[in-house]
Amino acid sequence: MFTHPSAPPPTPASGAGAALTRRRLLRHGTAAAGAVLAAGPLSGCASPAAADASALSVWDLFQGGDGMLMDDMIKAVSAGPEGFEVQRTILDWGPSYYTKLAMSAAGGRASDVAIMHLSRLAGYAPGGLLDPFDLDLLAEFGVRRQDFAPAVWARTQHDSTVFAIPLDVHPFIVFYDKEAADKAGLLDSSGELAPMGSPDALLDAGKALAEATGQKGILFGHVTDTAQTWRQFAALYAQTGAAFSLPDGGPPRIDVDAAVRVVTFMQQLFDGRTNPNNLDYYGALAGFLGGRGGMVMLGEWELPTLKKSGIPLGAAPFPQVFDKPAVYTDSHAFVLPHQKNPDPARRRRAHRYVAEMVKQSLTWASAGHIPAYQPVLAEPQYAALDPQSSYAGAAEVAVLDPPNWFAGAGSNFQNRMCQPLQSALLGNTSAEKAVRQMVREADALLRQPNPVA
């Protein structure tokens, strides 16, 4: 346990991890029991603040590699000369996290700081579930708006108020086996993946990689996944330059011809011969690790796993095959969940915590994420990170989900977009039908009354 039995040092306990000391347990428990029993049933009791007045409570959804890096970062910022005690809570990635976040914010006793995908902001900021950041306060701690890429910063606001401070940008990219890619003639003079430029070039690259590995070319796992085909589609669709927006009441504004072109291309690419069309997420990952393909399309967050494998690993932004450079990404950002009675001193500490954390994002980059705080990108240590630095440019052309309350990472929207796309890739439906189905699904979601407006 994180107890300091004798001579408590001036530095606070390293509170990373949801550790609770016996002392806290008892204080907390008896106070609560007393409140319930003595003051009558209607007296509220034992807010998180009462549990440990000094600890900053932070929520996130990182497990595994990311989870441990987050622990390291929290340890680093809390150990500083003016460190603070941090109580970290990790919830399951996806809808369960976002549901709890919304419910705690509605209840008004939310955590002090939480992580949120920027693509989800439209479901929280307009409904009053987040409190705004004080940019002056952040500037005091050395973090300013010009420190972030405009494409990302643009998504941190609602009604020109800033509700999120991005920690990273995490694009959907390609990883490749450098030896196989070299053999297939896909590398440029500097040993990086050469630009593609056309749909045919990517198709040819797949064939060349299949030949080079003697197995399959490009691997992509999507079966029963609730995000992967949407990421792939959104990446390619954004490259066509066509617009995609989700106006309340529907119908979705989507260029059906461009969407059909994209889905048709996806079907060509994952034809089931050169590039398999029936892998699930872990099947694709395991296939690439096992050398059964020369390239894999994944989020950059899989970097630590892939790096451990010993494959000569290359990485690149998702290849541009249509007219416009665009990379599908999302961004983990810090937000301040709504509190009914925020304590100004605590709020100040929350701001400092966020500022200190984004400055720690070099650590975060080792997981593959592109730091959103650009001063870190300029550091020589970042340039030395391989292959992270090869896709750092993705942040400049970042495209996120179209903003709407129901869209974003881990949302029902992505799940519903994935169903028809999956069928199309598996050959169970045509590209036209799949796109029509996507439009119908989006329309159905848009016709629901908007609960946050």
Partner: protein, 299 residues
Amino acid sequence: MSATATPLRSRRRPPSAAGASSLLLGHGRLPRVLAGTALAVLTAVWLLPFVWAVATSLQSEQDAASPGLSPVKGALTTEAYRHILERGNVTVWAFNSFLIAGLVTLITVVVSTLAAYGFSRGTFRGRRVLLALTLAAILVPPQMLIVPLFEQMLLFNLVDTYAAVILPQVVAPMMVFILRRFFDAVPRELEDAARVDGASELRVFLSVVLPLSRPIVAAVAIFVFIGAWNNFLWPFIVTNDPDLMTLPVGLATVKDAFGIQYAQSMASALLAALPLIVVFLFFQRRIVDSVATTGLGGS
């Protein structure tokens, strides 16, 4: 487990068992062998998940995550338990579970017993209407109320407090019904004698009626406690702060930075299972009776 339970065996063998056996199975050998085999198989199937969980919890994470049909794949270690106890979450949640289930039981029993007695003996105006409403409410599944109850807690500003977890759980029309049926069957003569002696109604209730009803009150208390201890949905809805969560909610909601670790998840499951299993070993007869009486609605 077996060590604690052995004394029970000698004490608790139902006196009727031998007689019942001849009644159901007769004196033939074959039915007896068949029944014995079926019982052994069923018991093995029912115990297997426990055995597998215990074995996994006593492995290192690496051994637990290696394939094989044998549950024990490497050296035994209590590492997983040490990790869980060091992190402290399970201890906090167990404390919350005891506090919440205890208070829910206390309030429910007091409130329901008083009401049941009032309904059984009272002649005040509105009694019939209140009683009819209470009985009708047995049909209402509390689960359907999660949305308005959450809204109510928002209104009272109680989300993320113990009060919010406890209060909606203390309304138990079924328990009022069971207790009232019991009181209805208790003869009034004793009470009336006390009343003639000038005892107040509360005094009559506390010193005449309550001592007679100890078994049924205990049964209701046990039943309510088990229900509150294992309740998931409502505590899950109304607590977001991990420091306020009960065992089932905390275990299901809060994750570990390392991701899924099977030995540790089995260890925490078993630690969470322990309190009520131990209680059961000590109060087997009581608990069995309480489920039988309250479960059958007092009939």
